[in-house]
Symmetry: C2
Subunit: 228 residues, 2 copies
């Protein structure tokens, strides 16, 4: 198998999985059951199999950890400092992912493994160089959300505009002007207004909307940007 004279490190994928849980931006962490960093929290992830694409590996790991197999996933950086894993040389390809916790109502922790959703503003200390990876992923998410309609990955298919605004405010960590926000969002031509309204609210009911993903796919090829 290792028929060449070159070094063969281990290669893993690690996923920074974001989700919006009760209005809080959270991150999925797994408690390590084995050394090193036993009992520390870490990013979900694992070894890339020999005949498996990197993205396939990330999807497989996420499916195992969360049961979710329909999510936004994007590779964003490889980490390979020689001693980032005390056991042996491990190079990891990091992905960031968004899980729609409305679609999959797996609100908090998952199955056998000890997994938990932690608020990004209140993370425990993490194993390996995972804190660094998380910081990079967060900053990537903040940049990206301004150029691509990622926010709709966090919320139900039918959503209200205040809901969308709230997601932007949560991710960007700042307040946005309601009127300007709506104008810009609707001006993209990607939002379909429905007749239906939310119910059971103690105030004026907001209208539901849809995001037109097909239209985005068409436009984005033409170099269009989605800016808030």
């Amino acid at each position: 198998m290792h028929s060449y004279k070159y070094p063969h490190p281990s290669v893993t994928v690690d996923c920074v999985v974001f989700g919006l849980d009760e209005g809080v931006l959270k991150l999925l962490l797994i408690k390590r059951l084995l050394a090193p960093f036993k009992d520390k929290w870490a990013l979900p992830g694992g070894f890339v199999l020999m005949d498996e694409d990197l993205e396939t590996a990330a999807l497989r790991e996420l499916k195992e950890e969360t049961g979710v197999d329909d999510l936004y996933l994007e590779q964003f950086q490889a980490y390979g400092k020689p001693n980032r894993d005390p056991r042996e040389r491990v190079i990891t390809i990091a992905y960031f992912a968004i899980v729609n916790l409305f679609k999959y109502t797996l609100k908090a922790s998952t199955d056998a493994k000890e997994a938990e959703w932690y608020p990004v503003n209140d993370l425990p200390s993490l194993a390996f160089d995972h804190e660094n990876i998380v910081l990079n992923a967060l900053s990537k998410l903040q940049n990206k959300v301004l150029r691509e309609p990622l926010v709709f990955e966090f919320i139900p298919e039918k959503f209200t505009l205040p809901q969308v605004q709230f997601v932007y405010e949560t991710i960007l960590q700042k307040k946005l002007d309601k009127r300007n926000f709506r104008k810009k969002l609707l001006a993209t031509g990607l939002i379909e207004v429905l007749e239906e309204h939310e119910t059971n609210v103690t105030h004026r009911a907001a209208r539901f909307h849809l995001f037109n993903k097909d239209e985005w796919n068409k436009k984005s090829r033409g170099g269009l940007e989605f800016r808030i």
Copy 2:
């Protein structure tokens, strides 16, 4: 060495090296002397050593291939399709790099290895999945040049504004309005105007300018963007 039961693929770095040679955006390619893809052109790169950081590996390879050790270098994507290398599983971390061909007057090819600078618009067919990697790097370069002052990596320390404009036009593949371009560039507050002018031109001599990198480093942390 391979003391764990997990798979251990080979890991390489590959570099997409851009340079501006006589006003043409070029890319450094190496002719492969060995199978597979013998005699085909490929990206410079090679195996990551066991005790070497990924970026260090990329720098080392570039130093070997070009003699240059002071260049812009950024990791941009890992490629790991199981059969991208016919010999065995090879995962590659791709970097894009910019060589200042004014600073290092190694205009075209390099040393022992058969290396050549090819215009990006007229590339030969490439080994492995390198054509795909190059396309991704190009698009990355085009995006990035709008947000960060990468262009100055291509040109001499002292430059004229028409020279900068030309680099933008070359990379973005479109004409820019001279007056607006200058206004925006100078409005960044990052360009120092010198008294000195170019010489030996058959028309009005352009003034030299400097790019204030320190100022950029300060400002960019504050989230400022450099837009053209």
